[in-house]
Point group: C2
Chain length 200, copies 2
């Protein structure tokens, strides 16, 4: 089964006839390490599924500093929702962390499918709802937990791919802190662990 079709079918069932027009619009693309799929300040009218590799979503601030806010791995769908929906330039970039293989398609094609096939409209609704729950949870975590608690939450979550494969400076950014601060938190936790061991 095609990975994008599998992704969509986590939400709705597609007949071959419904799948065909989307399949016909897919274009394969390779990214080198550090190459952009989406570039901040430019239109980003395409979505993509990551077939292999990994990408990060990053904002470049007016002072030139970068902040990484999200990661994408195999079988993730990515793109600038904001640019696709509003037609405005994207406010962030999406950049490959390693050589990455993509399957891309224009958002305009999806919009056409919304009109032509109710099943795509339903998929679109459920996808947006699913993404909304994820973003809400992330927002709550930022507002409710301390940086140290956020790191611990990440440690005990099922997002092990982030911890295993991503440079720590980007994880720090994702947690809303500096790399130096994350390094200190890690040292603190490790000291606590060792104290707990010898104490027991």
């Amino acid at each position: 089964m095609h990975p994008l079709r599998t992704y969509i079918q986590r939400f709705v069932s597609l007949t071959d006839a419904e799948w065909a027009p989307l399949a016909a619009g897919l274009v394969s693309r390779q990214l080198r390490r550090k190459e952009d799929f989406v570039t901040q300040g430019r239109l980003a009218p395409e979505l993509a599924m990551v077939v292999s590799g990994a990408c990060r979503l990053l904002y470049t601030r007016p002072d030139g500093e970068e902040r990484t806010t999200y990661f994408f791995f195999d079988n993730h769908l990515m793109g600038s929702y904001q640019s696709c929906l509003t037609g405005q330039p994207s406010q962030f970039s999406i950049q490959a962390l390693a050589p990455t293989e993509l399957l891309t398609f224009p958002y305009a094609l999806l919009r056409q499918l919304f009109d032509q096939h109710p099943v795509y409209e339903r998929f679109g609704r459920q996808l947006a709802e699913y993404l909304l729950l994820g973003t809400d949870a992330r927002l709550a975590e930022l507002l409710l937990l301390s940086p140290e608690q956020r790191y611990q939450a990440l440690l005990h979550s099922h997002k092990t791919k982030i911890l295993e494969r991503i440079p720590q400076q980007y994880i720090a950014s994702y947690l809303g802190i500096t790399p130096v601060s994350l390094s200190r938190i890690r040292a603190r936790l490790q000291a606590d662990d060792e104290a707990a061991l010898s104490g027991t």
Copy 2:
């Protein structure tokens, strides 16, 4: 025009026949100050439009501390998306800040309308997309700006209702800081303003 119908028609057009079944399911309800519309830990299968008054969305942490993360005013739609979609207890409460008048309806009714009228499915998609853009922007603000910058962004935004009508401790929570810290930030900015005035 009915305020809920107006709200929906910001996204899609409704015929009288399409509007009727939703209108028939609406129930008016009054909340006293501090009364819950949604209670953390309980199912929240209803949505509501605020007709008049104001509410806040709050999480109560395991240690008993409260964190306010959102506000709702006239003509806002509110509810626990998370509880409605998953059927699980809500992870937050929604509480009236002042006497508030609501129009409520079961999410199950909306789900029925998704099946019966494509126009509602489209509304559902566009609503979720719109909410997602808002949450994404909020998340970016938290990760990109300092507390002081976030307060200034709020000052210069069009969310004047928040600043005018909401106790400062809740605004602090919304910004991800303590009330004491917000008070200091305000004092700092005021001192800067005065220095700028006398210096010019």
